[in-house]
Symmetry: C2
Subunit: 486 residues, 2 copies
Amino acid sequence: MDHATLVDRLERILGPGGVFHRPGDLLVYEYDGSVDGAVDTARPAAVALPTTTEQVAAIVELANEAGLPVVARGAGTGLSGGAVAQRGGIIVSLTRMDRILEVDREDRTALVEPGVINLELSETTLPEGFFFAPDPSSQKACTVGGNVAENSGGPHCLKYGVTTNHVLGLEVVLPDGRMVWTGGRASGGAGYDLTAAMVGSEGMLGIVTKALVRLTPQPESIVVLLAAFGDMDAASHAVSRIIAAGIVPAALEMMDALTIEAVEPAYHAGYPMDAGAVLLIELDGPAEDVRETTDEVSTICRQTAATEVRMASERAERDLLWKGRKMALAAMGRLAPNYYLHDTVVPRSKLPATLRRVGEVSKEYDLPIANVFHAGDGNLHPLMLFDRRQKGSVERVLEASHDLLHYCVEVGGALSGEHGIGTEKRDYMTLVFTADDLAAMAGVKNSFDPRGCFNPEKLFPKGYMCGEVRALRAQAMAQKLGIYAL
Amino acid sequence: MDHATLVDRLERILGPGGVFHRPGDLLVYEYDGSVDGAVDTARPAAVALPTTTEQVAAIVELANEAGLPVVARGAGTGLSGGAVAQRGGIIVSLTRMDRILEVDREDRTALVEPGVINLELSETTLPEGFFFAPDPSSQKACTVGGNVAENSGGPHCLKYGVTTNHVLGLEVVLPDGRMVWTGGRASGGAGYDLTAAMVGSEGMLGIVTKALVRLTPQPESIVVLLAAFGDMDAASHAVSRIIAAGIVPAALEMMDALTIEAVEPAYHAGYPMDAGAVLLIELDGPAEDVRETTDEVSTICRQTAATEVRMASERAERDLLWKGRKMALAAMGRLAPNYYLHDTVVPRSKLPATLRRVGEVSKEYDLPIANVFHAGDGNLHPLMLFDRRQKGSVERVLEASHDLLHYCVEVGGALSGEHGIGTEKRDYMTLVFTADDLAAMAGVKNSFDPRGCFNPEKLFPKGYMCGEVRALRAQAMAQKLGIYAL
């Protein structure tokens, strides 16, 4: 199908305002939030902006007819290249499907379209006493559909769990254009948990067109503690002690000196400029309980050599402390023209050793690394600072990343905490998964998308899905028989 | 392969003590906990009792060679026929793989073999301050592997979630004998969530040989309230008020007059014999918080016309109140020789109407129905009481069940809360799932088990997996085109 016919057919489905196809209009769809160099950019043939499920199904059917890939996209804030059309084809932008269809106070659920902005959902339901718990740092821009695709986390996932814990059911358009509902309003269920299989599948198994999500009751009281420490080791020690005491903070975030150096002059959040590390500890629940736990946490911080412990209970004070954390990425431009943000998780007990390793990598590769991360659940976010105009700098960053990822996996960690694999980390998959593991995942992919048309070039190692499954199977067999021909 | 050869080959893998093959030895493996008549019983060719993952893999390979089905089995307490070998073949009994391999206090995890008894895991970790939250009523007997296969719930799942929320990773032997690990110790992860796909898949996608589970910190304080009401409507009203107040009890269970009549004389749990319904409300957390919430819940119960509210905070008192609930099924023998326990979930808001419908069904079919259930999450457990020696009684029970299930689905409920579909409810699947939904599930099944050898005759409607997938696809297409040829 030639380009003009494709555009014409799309316009017949969506109307002329629902299709972008001129190079200038396509430009912003060539990227997502990830680092150019770590993830290839690419131009789609067209961007379709549906407003109904039926239109999504019609676009998918057209793509099948034309033999084109289909890439679903929300706000494009992703950090692993998941919304980039590396093999071209049609980008289905879901930003115009942005209605909150229903809020059910009694069953504590909301039925939303995929383009609803994460923060807007919480802001809409807050007057009724509820919020949507997953809160990625990009929550002012990112969409619920994108959260579902990447199984997004955020600071409050320590207590409340990641996106998959808050999705009850999904309306999905499958790669052959069929529409199915997974899960539902009642707890429990029947059959295989296709909702769970869909969450975090990075747009490779289906396009979510409606999501039934769980709402969380607003706690009676919220307190944010700021605790400053001489170094990250002392702060890590406090983290361990808090968790070991059986306390589950709503959030438990760490920022190092380099992060404070970037953030404080920009936002005046009130972080002490001379601290080696600060912790933001949010406690929520019944007022009396929060008071008690605040005392307990303050005591632990002082015992673990905090140089300062400050408490914010009013909304405005709390928001200011959080602003520094949530805007940390934006402030990094003060330190270097470019950064590469990693997202890797280690078991909580391995946190101090891993932070030391980050320090070593920084020295070995002569690369400043800022640490701003979800300490409570061991989800590191080392930010490698560089200037891409310096020759070889991107390569140095990628090598340092390679080292760091290897280390995290060695201590029992995962490749990604909340940003997905996408194109960025696809070639690292063999670090954590055996050929058998990958073949099991490929089986699931093939069962939903035998033609491989939904978001190609993601998740699986390069070349894996192009007829190499059989070869991998052979490798698996060789592994099993002890013939390490890999 | 003839029977003698099969037994010989199995004994070569497992030793002579590891294989049951004489009719007398096989008898107990012909049943599970479900009702004869609702679920067909069947004799396996042999029962294999492995002690290692490698033995499980070898059994599966032998089954493939012999062209025999493989049915994994834990304690056999299931209520939907999931552990019965309806097409014969080899039952893999995992009761000898019963070791707790590791308890990690800092990361709050336990690595266990599938045959570990649910309650034993909590009892082992309690001295360290932890418990395993899913607590089915059969927890004294049922195994963690069985819990994973059925995604089991229990009273405490209201606050803590069902099994899938407590499983971090699984070692699994797949239908072709390969062994894979899904998930892992670090939060987050990468790739499709195969752990979630495996939990609740009723032994049809793989055999779990190790489970890495989450441990939950023991709360500081636990209180159980007993509240008695004139009828179920008043008790339901109290449930709604408690939930609407933003309180999340650890458990919120209801028992009706018929249940009290069976339980109280048997266990002397202290339920008032003249009550129309009682609620057991467990509250846990920090001591001060529990005290406050206890007052609040007591007030709500009195406002909603509770005739009595009693509090138990000491372990022995609490255990006695719970004993009546947990032993309710065992006590039903006092009322009738047989019972058929249903497991269906409705949105919490539909609970009062559904309970009224249960009462109507009881009258229409002249069938006493006792109600003992997880009220907090709308998970009904109507117990139909009958005497199978009376001609036509089983048929009457099945017809009443049919009516009740239809009603629950109509109000937005699910077929099963925590007992699975198995053989029992397979033919009801089309009530809640479209042909497209089922085809998506069948795709997943086929991707793991193209030969259909793992636990056949479960989950999918009768005949569905025997080459009828194509026909169902055609139906799906017809549905889509509006040709309702079904």
